[in-house]
């Protein structure tokens, strides 16, 4: 009990998921609420004790002991009330001897089980996302509400309902076995990619909350790939994709807050360490027969990240990867992105032709991507008046400020 300095950045968030996971293993998944309450309580006591007596040498072990003892007390008290003294208290698996040192190691297994529980197939996608953020990643209801532009009470209700569903289904705290594992793993990755994308999405809402979402999603994927069940090519591909995209976070807006397209970004501001880590993950992702959509998206991201300047970008390769994506997931947004790549690879006239095929797309009518892409191609053809009109249309449709600032600038004819 000697360290006087406050704890490391994000310490509570990191510990929150680990503690809830370890306690849920001990208490059983139907006591998820008790596990969470015990962790809240341990944090509250840390707040009151550490500033007076110093931070313990092993703050993680201190928190675990405190939370575990609290949960044991509650369980015993409940057992007494129900007149079955030996009930829950006896069922509550005591922590293994020397658990403090054990806890020092990464309880990756428990954390993975917790993620699988939160992404249970009985839950809707929004419920999985919400529960994962709250229970496995230590986010608060207000933070989740801010990040997803909804109300705190909606988030709270969703959590209550999701937990009830898990109890009713008797959802176990374990890794699915055999053939079920693959499908369940995909559901977990889907949630983490959704969390990342929401965090990475620029412009609207609370920037800090979003950045935290993206960072936490990366961390959880990194955690998964440390587990034997998670050493899968498409896990590596998802990690690579997230890291490539993260590497551009600092460079994608300029001093005016305008969201810059990749070709206008200052590549010196790209995070080289993230890119290097992404490249290693992408190399690992190649071991295995399955080519997932994450592989294709990571491949596209890599083409940008590894080009020393925009002119060196391998656009034909990007078009090829988009061809494959379109074949699997023929969504209009994917086809639009492909059209932009076609324009870079084969010239703006080719882009306009492909964009023409998307003109009636219902999915693209209400967003700015289509007019922005048309504007870009027209501008490159020297048809500046038409380009400006398209940029104006795009600016009106842009739903977030950072994109609007950029589009309005182009509509004015500024570079």
């Amino acid at each position: 009990m000697t360290r006087a300095d406050p704890v490391a950045e994000h310490f509570f968030r990191r510990e929150s998921g680990r503690l809830v996971a370890a306690l849920t293993r001990a208490l059983g998944p139907d006591r998820l609420d008790l596990a969470e309450t015990a962790v809240q309580e341990a944090f509250l006591r840390a707040l009151r004790v550490w500033p007076l007596r110093g931070v313990p040498d092993r703050p993680d072990a201190w928190l675990y002991r405190t939370a575990r003892n609290f949960a044991l007390d509650v369980a015993r008290r409940e057992a007494r009330f129900r007149d079955r003294e030996d009930g829950i208290a006896a069922e509550l698996v005591p922590p293994p001897a020397g658990d403090d040192t054990r806890f020092a190691g990464e309880l990756v297994d428990d954390r993975l089980r917790l993620m699988f529980l939160c992404c249970h197939p009985a839950l809707s996608r929004p419920s999985r996302v919400t529960l994962t953020l709250k229970v496995a990643a230590g986010f608060g209801t207000a933070e989740i509400a801010r990040a997803f532009r909804t109300t705190e009470s909606t988030v709270a209700q969703r959590i209550v309902r999701a937990k009830r569903t898990l109890r009713e289904r008797g959802a176990p705290f374990e890794l699915p076995a055999g053939a079920e594992l693959a499908g369940r793993m995909d559901a977990v990755l889907d949630v983490l990619y959704l969390v990342f994308s929401e965090g990475y999405r620029p412009g609207s809402g609370d920037e800090d909350a979003r950045r935290d979402l993206a960072a936490e999603a990366v961390r959880l994927v990194q955690l998964i790939r440390r587990h034997p069940a998670g050493r899968l090519p498409h896990v590596e591909a998802l990690l690579a994709l997230m890291l490539f995209q993260s590497s551009r976070l600092a460079a994608r807006t300029d001093a005016d807050g305008a969201l810059l397209p990749i070709e206008e970004q200052d590549r010196a501001r790209w995070d080289r360490r993230a890119i290097d880590e992404a490249v290693r993950a992408l190399a690992r992702s190649a071991r295995g027969g399955r080519l997932s959509e994450y592989h294709l998206l990571a491949g596209i991201s890599a083409c940008h990240a590894l080009a020393p300047d925009p002119a060196a970008t391998d656009w034909e390769r990007i078009v090829g990867l988009y061809d494959e994506l379109v074949a699997r997931n023929g969504g209009d947004l994917v086809r639009l992105n492909r059209a932009v790549a076609v324009g870079r690879a084969r010239g703006p006239a080719a882009a306009l032709a492909v964009l023409g095929e998307l003109a009636e797309s219902p999915a693209l009518q209400t967003c700015h991507y289509l007019p922005a892409a048309r504007a870009d191609a027209l501008h490159r053809l020297g048809r500046d008046e038409e380009a400006r009109a398209e940029w104006e249309r795009a600016a009106r449709l842009a739903s977030n400020g950072a994109e609007r600032i950029y589009l309005e600038r182009r509509a004015r004819g500024d570079k």
Binding site: V7, T37, L44, R45, A46, R48, F70, V74, G140, A142
Partner: protein, 119 residues
């Protein structure tokens, strides 16, 4: 110098609603507050209280045990301060971060028995 108890009460689940990140920021505030009290040589101790407990009372002429039910206002912990008077103690307690995370704070002077006894 008189001593004062700063008693912290929680009345809803405000604490549970905070994210782990916000809780950690709250702890930084507790560190800063404790440091400030130490600098002024006001801090004399403190502890969090474990939830639950026993209620002992007399019923039918006998002491009975419980049941203990948590009241709406739960005492979660205390700090002990030394200050010149109640106003100063209350001013110091104003900085208590428990107030920020939704708890109420009661400041009470500890009766010094030796003085009462004229000693």
């Amino acid at each position: 110098m008189p001593r004062y108890m700063v008693l912290m009460h929680e009345s809803d689940d405000a604490w549970a609603k905070l994210s782990a990140e916000e809780k950690q920021r709250m702890m930084e505030k507790y560190f800063a507050w404790a440091e400030e009290l130490r600098r002024g040589d006001h801090l004399r101790g403190g502890d969090p209280l474990v939830r639950g407990g026993r209620l002992l009372r007399v019923a039918g002429g006998e002491v009975v045990d419980g049941p203990f039910t948590e009241t709406k206002e739960v005492l979660t912990g205390y700090f002990m301060l030394e200050a010149g008077d109640l106003d100063e103690a209350a001013a110091l307690a104003r900085g208590c971060p428990a107030l920020i995370h939704g708890e109420s704070v009661v400041v009470r002077e500890i009766a010094e028995l030796s003085e009462d006894a004229g000693g």
